[in-house]
Symmetry: C2
Subunit: 621 residues, 2 copies
């Protein structure tokens, strides 16, 4: 077998470089990042998808609500997609599916009951429920996708209920994809990690392990979810007034713990926040959240209760601007205000990037008199992802020949690979890959062979439009330096018809604005004087000249930009509207409401002209 | 004595509410935040300033470089300012001084040698070196400021060399302001915390302690700076290739440690980054950084050296976008590229808010083949601020009657007050205050009495202009939703002179842009039709009508905004240019370059009109 040295280009399909059965694995998201986990498996011209998540925008992605992987490769190969499997119901694993369904044909999606229930809601909301068939699976179920993939679902333990590790039986061999996991030997729901099945596969022979790297930097084992119970119990016991508890809506085990503690301490629970209400409703219907109906009460029903009979379970653990808890902290929640004696519990750690939003929320709650319980040393939160010892146990059970660390930023993948090396897996038997890399796996070899197009698509606040890179760049420029609008009208005799209009928005300057406007106007006049002879080429007296308006516009924009950079010491977006005015016939001015605007394309070489009006001179476009 | 219940208004001077000598303490920055520490002390109509720092912008402060406190109160009371004292040379304590000096008269500034040296450079750069007199002080120096303040400088230990706690001897009593501190009993420079002097004051009687709360949430003592030496030594011993070390430029002790380890391990040191070069140069001149000249080499001089003879000491420990290390990580540094075998050491923890920038930098360095050493568990960084046990020791030594936690976000102030209560200080003997609160301190009483104007001033990237709240709001809107420009010309006969021009920038829409432009145009035409009769009030045939252009503009803007919100489901900034066109006299169009632009004020009721040109019809403004 020879090593493929395919160029780092964008093949539509990747040529098979060997006569052995070759499984191609193409991660489109989830590597060198936490989020939007999306993986493509290909063999015998058939494509199987595993998870389709979303990510959240960084601070510089202005006006972006969610981030998705670039799906170009899948669009180009949509006819080969045989189905999708889903490991569990977190947003970074299922949140992208409605967007996939708008663009791709996915005949069938298999996944656990809770995830499929949450997914169905998302699909209905997005109007794509008819675009695929949803089938739920249980532990040890094996489903066939296409002719080449047999997928076995193996119960694992994670922060959401009903989560799976999957074993992909393929012609190339057995691949185990852990999904998200930790080893929780005392799970809240009694659903143990199916170690037996993992070990059995390990004994028979696992060709390749793809394993969750989220906590690869952290030594030791991740504590069981059960570890938070005594600590939260103490918080419940000590709270004299109302208890306001926030956690991730999807942390079904944590929600169960909180409900049980409320019951134990004689408190009723009011749930706030759309996602929390949604997850609890669906999880209750399916039996993943269990409590008596009377335990859950709407907000208006708890008004008359003593403070120490009340728990408010709310979204907002990450300081999300629109969440219920953030609105309470900002005194913007219409039905709930903090008062002296309230205890607020953050049963979640801030995700990096959210730290400042979270501590600001904590500060505001404290300033209004709440006692706030937060921080890693309180034992009121544990991660849903395994640490280094969990990773070792996974490697020890599955004993894979090849290893691919997944689900993590680059340094986590590196740390996870070091853990695997410490377990005896040779460096040459693992790859650290990026989104878009094409991994080739055969019974004897693991390597990469080229790349497909990969990147991100930014979905805007309407959840429909795509913020392309040009728009994003414009927004970054607008945010940093504002916008300067200059509008001018120039006659086809080469004269300024009126003083140019100048407007600044979001621009900082110590200059006198009138002075700056004057400079901009002078610049326009100067360019006009310098360039008119060359742009009005076929000028003949008494005739409408053939003016290169686009050329004139470009010259003026260049000069104006230079002036703005020099005078403002910044680089605002320049919007320059040049309105050519054609004088013909007799007196006056024409009115025309015919549309001819072109939204954004600034250079225009041809302009439609209106005919002269007997009443007024025509003003052409 | 009666409790003052002054309104939360903005008194220019605060009335004395007692016949006892009353010291007013007015923090203008540094409370409910980390940064821009700025404190005002007032007694007998004299003002003493303590530190004047800056803060850095949050993500939503677009185009802002630094954040300063609102200085309205000091501007209004500038004649009473007798001088300023400075505790140490960190940016959040001296970075605001040049901006103060532009607006205020500060006759004299006292401070430690290193801080004064750094300050002098900043003042020269800002062109305000002539605006005050700088005097350096040493340990146990006492200076008089005005007639009422005697300030004693007490050596403390902190991450920058030459740092002081101050004792303010005032007619009301003795106030100790800790500055920034930890108790480091094995300081790198051998300059011990002057515990004796603190204890002596404690024995004689301290009226009030104002103490640094940065690490109030963390139990235990902060380790000595010396604790990093063996861990960094091990890193130096194990590095096979080049060593690239980053830390805070101002961490003079850390810089000394790194230089000494370089010497020990036979490496020369190249310093990268403007602030690092500046601090090291000044600290060497003053003797705070000590090394042989030959140890420091410019980048070009180390090219021929073996990799294991080289240390590169650089800025960028916080992932700052323009820093040397960030540019190296982004492959944008013209003289230095990462190569296999390099070891990069982050001898600093990320400040919350910088985490993502730092881990992105780490990932990029690793992807280029560097081994990166980072993280809290490596023992290669310690804080310069004391933790809970340091706080207790400070309280135990000074034994104050009253206590004010300072230098921290709200929850840190609360934790620090809890620590003080655990030491026996009654809750009524402390206040948790916000920037702008006026604290009144007498020999028998600590309380608050009203507020002065407090807030923030945002300085833009040019370091000269101020980003006011209107500009910031515009930028936030521009960033989130972009800008729509609509320009239209309307004749004083109430007709559209040409189809309105529409341009979108930074706007996301799934609509056909031509269609949207048509809708905007129709809206303008509709408003014109509906409102012309009412805005063109004194219309008489054959005469120039008296048109309420501002009223028409407002109507059109309202209608256009409503349309945009409905169609785009977002709220872009609307720039609407309405150009009234007056047809008078004979044929053609006039040219005029006279400026009449008003930059930003959109509603205009009066417009200057140009006289008719024999060649063209006049177009008035």
């Amino acid at each position: 077998m020879t090593k493929t040295t395919a160029p780092r280009s964008v093949p539509t399909t990747v040529a098979n470089s060997t006569s052995e059965p070759t499984l191609k694995i193409i991660p489109l998201g989830g590597l060198h990042e936490i989020g939007k986990n999306t993986c493509v498996f290909e063999i015998n011209d058939e494509i199987l998808l595993l998870d389709a998540g979303l990510a959240f925008p960084t601070a510089s992605m202005h006006g972006v609500q969610i981030v998705l992987p670039d799906l170009t490769y899948l669009r180009e190969n949509r006819h080969r997609i045989k189905g999708m499997i889903v490991t569990h119901g977190h947003e970074d694993h299922i949140g992208g599916i409605p967007f996939h369904l708008r663009q791709l044909d996915i005949p069938v999606i298999y996944g656990p009951r809770l995830a499929m229930s949450l997914l169905r809601g998302k699909m209905e909301e997005a109007g794509v429920a008819h675009r695929t068939e949803i089938r739920t699976v249980g532990p040890r179920d094996i489903v066939r996708v296409g002719n080449s993939f047999f997928v076995e679902f193996i119960r694992n333990t994670h922060s959401i209920a009903d989560s799976f590790t999957v074993a992909l039986h393929t012609p190339a061999g057995l691949v185990i994809h852990t999904g998200d996991f930790k080893f929780d030997h005392t799970p809240i729901d009694g659903e143990h990690f199916d170690l037996a099945r993992l070990a059995e596969h390990g004994e028979k022979g696992v060709l390749c392990l793809m394993s969750d790297s989220t906590n690869a930097e952290i030594p030791g084992f991740t504590p069981s979810e059960a570890a938070v119970v005594p600590n939260l119990d103490r918080v419940f016991a000590q709270a004299a007034g109302r208890l306001i508890v926030t956690t991730f809506a999807s942390s079904v085990h944590r929600v169960n713990i909180i409900l049980q503690l409320a019951q134990k301490h004689g408190r009723v629970v009011t749930v706030l926040g759309r996602s929390m209400l949604n997850v609890i409703a669906q999880a209750r219907t399916l039996g993943y959240v269990r409590c008596e109906d009377s335990l859950l009460q709407p907000l208006h029903a708890i008004r008359h209760l003593p403070d120490d009979r009340v728990v408010i379970l709310t979204t907002g653990s990450q300081g999300e601007p629109l969440s219920a808890l953030t609105r309470i902290a900002n005194k913007e929640h219409k039905d709930l205000q903090i008062r002296e004696g309230d205890t607020v519990v953050f049963s979640a750690n801030p995700i990096p990037g959210n730290t400042i939003a979270v501590v600001n929320t904590i500060d505001k709650l404290m300033q209004q008199g709440a006692k706030v319980i937060y921080g890693k040393d309180r034992g009121i939160h544990v991660s849903g992802h395994g640490c280094q010892e969990d990773h070792k146990l996974m490697l020890a059970l599955t004993r894979p020949k090849f290893f691919i660390p997944i689900h993590g930023e680059h340094r986590m993948l590196v740390k996870h690979s070091e853990t695997a090396m410490s377990m005896g897996i040779p460096r040459d038997n693992m790859v650290i890959v990026d989104n878009g890399d094409v991994i080739e796996l055969t019974p004897t070899r693991l390597g990469t062979a080229g790349r497909v197009k990969a990147g991100i698509e930014l979905v805007d606040n309407s959840r429909e439009g795509v913020v392309d890179s040009r728009v994003l760049k414009e927004r970054q420029q607008l945010a940093a330096d504002g916008v300067v609008t200059v509008a001018t009208s120039i006659s086809d005799q080469g004269r300024l018809v009126a003083p140019p209009e100048v407007m600044l928005r979001g621009v900082v300057t110590t200059l006198d604005p009138t002075q700056l406007a004057r400079q901009l106007q002078n610049t326009i006049a100067q360019v006009l004087q310098d360039h008119w002879p060359s742009v009005a080429r076929s000028f003949a007296p008494g005739e409408a000249p053939d003016v290169d308006w686009a050329g004139l516009q470009t010259e003026m924009e260049t000069a104006l930009r230079r002036l703005l950079r020099r005078e403002l010491k910044s680089n605002p977006l320049l919007i320059f509207l040049l309105q050519p005015v054609t004088a013909r016939g007799q007196v006056g001015l024409t009115a025309s409401t015919e549309g001819d605007s072109d939204n954004g394309t600034k250079g225009r070489t041809r302009r439609r002209r209106t005919t002269a009006d007997p009443e007024v001179a025509s003003v052409g476009f």
